[in-house]
């Protein structure tokens, strides 16, 4: 056991064998190449999740999760509670940025083929984390109980209800009633603050454990280089300090966005008013929302809505299963084809999202 100048360290080391942890951290290294920047994206997403948890706990002190008082409590937070507006805006902005970074992280992993052996389980757990993040966004969107959120939830849960076989029971489980009502708000509140965080922490822990056990992935071309041409950054302290610097910058960006571009509360939800013109979901659902607008009422004998859902369901499943059909030994042409499909998916998402915001 090493003895250091720090008495505290020595005392802790005797009890918890810190030397082993330090040795592990010292040997951990991060490959340095032209795509190294993407190694930071997962860390940023995780940092934003921590911001979510902290700001969410603060919001919980004043938020009331019932249809009678949810809207009023958010208005109270924004207008009466000191810095309440800041906490709410930080929560909303960091949620959006978290999902953005989860997407960037996933696409970076996809295009550098980091999902291949032995990291299939890391990819699958990452996909689960993406779905849970979208679940956070969807359930949190309803909580202010405003008009936009009400109709977005109506549409979103109706889409779930159209899924063959499991749709109807799932719809009832989510809504807690036939329609989007006060019961739905209570359920979404519970799902948002208890169920999803619990699951998220569990799967995130597994995801991180996998990354720690297997080390950072290396892009295929870089991996084939002779060891003399490869260079690395030590994880501790170099990479970790860069992580901290980046997280501070991200926090500053969140704060600036919260101050300069606050989130509106809108009008209180009323199930007996028409859906307002210009209703839009959150940006990360926009490409699906816009696609549903273009699918005609019937395609052959299938209802357009069901066709759209089946299409996205199948697409999502194939995307999630990419490590199964693009393996390490896959032929180069196949590997390039998978990458091309990925590129088309990214372009489709970007194009439809832009159309969603620009088309009338």
């Amino acid at each position: 056991m090493t003895r250091t100048d720090s008495k505290l360290y020595d005392q802790l080391n005797v009890r918890f064998k810190l030397d082993a942890l330090v040795a592990f951290l010292s040997s951990k290294k991060v490959p340095r190449h032209s795509h190294s920047i993407f190694y930071y994206t997962g860390g940023v997403a995780m940092f934003l999740f921590v911001v979510q948890v902290c700001s969410g706990i603060l919001l919980l002190m004043y938020y009331k999760g019932s249809a009678d008082s949810a809207f009023e409590s958010v208005r109270y937070i924004m207008s009466e509670v000191p810095f309440g507006w800041l906490i709410r805006d930080i929560h909303s902005w960091s949620a959006n940025l978290m999902i953005l970074f989860v997407f960037i992280h996933m696409f970076a992993v996809f295009f550098t083929k980091a999902y291949r052996f032995p990291r299939e389980l890391t990819w699958f757990s990452g996909i689960l984390l993406l779905f849970l993040s979208l679940g956070f966004g969807f359930s949190g969107y309803l909580l202010p109980w405003n008009e936009l959120a009400f109709f977005a939830t109506k549409v979103g849960t109706d889409i779930v209800g159209a899924v063959p076989l499991i749709g109807e029971p799932l719809l009832e489980f989510l809504r807690g009633s036939e329609d989007v009502t006060a019961t739905t708000l209570s359920r979404f509140f519970g799902i948002h603050v208890a169920i999803l965080p619990g699951l998220f922490v569990l799967i995130l822990s597994m995801h991180l454990l996998f990354v720690q056990r297997q080390g950072m992935s290396e892009p295929p071309r870089w991996k084939d280089l002779p060891e003399s041409e490869k260079s690395y950054t030590p994880f501790f302290p170099d990479f970790l300090l860069r992580d901290f610097a980046l997280w501070s910058a991200v926090l500053a960006v969140v704060a600036v966005l919260a101050v300069l571009s606050p989130w509106e509360l809108g009008l209180k939800a009323d199930p007996f008013t028409s859906a307002p013109a210009g209703i839009k979901p959150e940006w990360y659902f926009m490409f699906m929302f816009q696609t549903l607008k273009y699918i005609p009422a019937h395609v052959m004998s299938i209802e357009g809505e069901i066709l759209g859902i089946l299409m996205f369901g199948l697409g999502g499943l194939l995307w999630a299963l990419v490590p199964v059909f693009d393996r390490d030994g896959s032929r180069k042409r196949w590997s390039r084809f998978v990458r091309l499909v990925g590129l088309i998916v990214v372009l489709y998402i970007i194009a439809l999202t832009i159309l969603g915001y620009t088309s009338t």
Binding site: I159, D179, F272, S274, I279, L292, A297
Partner: protein, 142 residues
Amino acid sequence: MIDRRSFLDWLLGGTVFAGLAAILYPAARYLEPQEIPEAAISSLKVGTIEDFPLDSGTIFKFGRKPGLLIHDADGKFRAFHATCTHLSCVVQYRKDMGAIYCACHNGRFDINGKNISGPPPRPLEEFDVHLKGNEVYVSLRG
């Protein structure tokens, strides 16, 4: 003949299964939405003729569901379930379009509730409208 070890394995497995079922069944039943008793209504007075200007649409409550009453330019009343047949948004009457419109996905229905453009797959369900003096009543069809 089953040996002692296999028997104990089965017993243990069965106990775990029964334990999980004993936890999950009440939890699943707990989450199942409850039927909320509601007085069945079949007819409703929505207002008087003067309440509804010509060429306008008004949302009314029919039990727990929204309805849309249209007083068209010719003075005729029509009423529909206001729930879009696409993804359940509440529709509205648009004077400028002379049509019923769903803002969620740009669905359109004509003045008779027939789906004419956009994604809605079916027409809107219609109510019967009756006038008694100057009072307007809507009732379930059929």
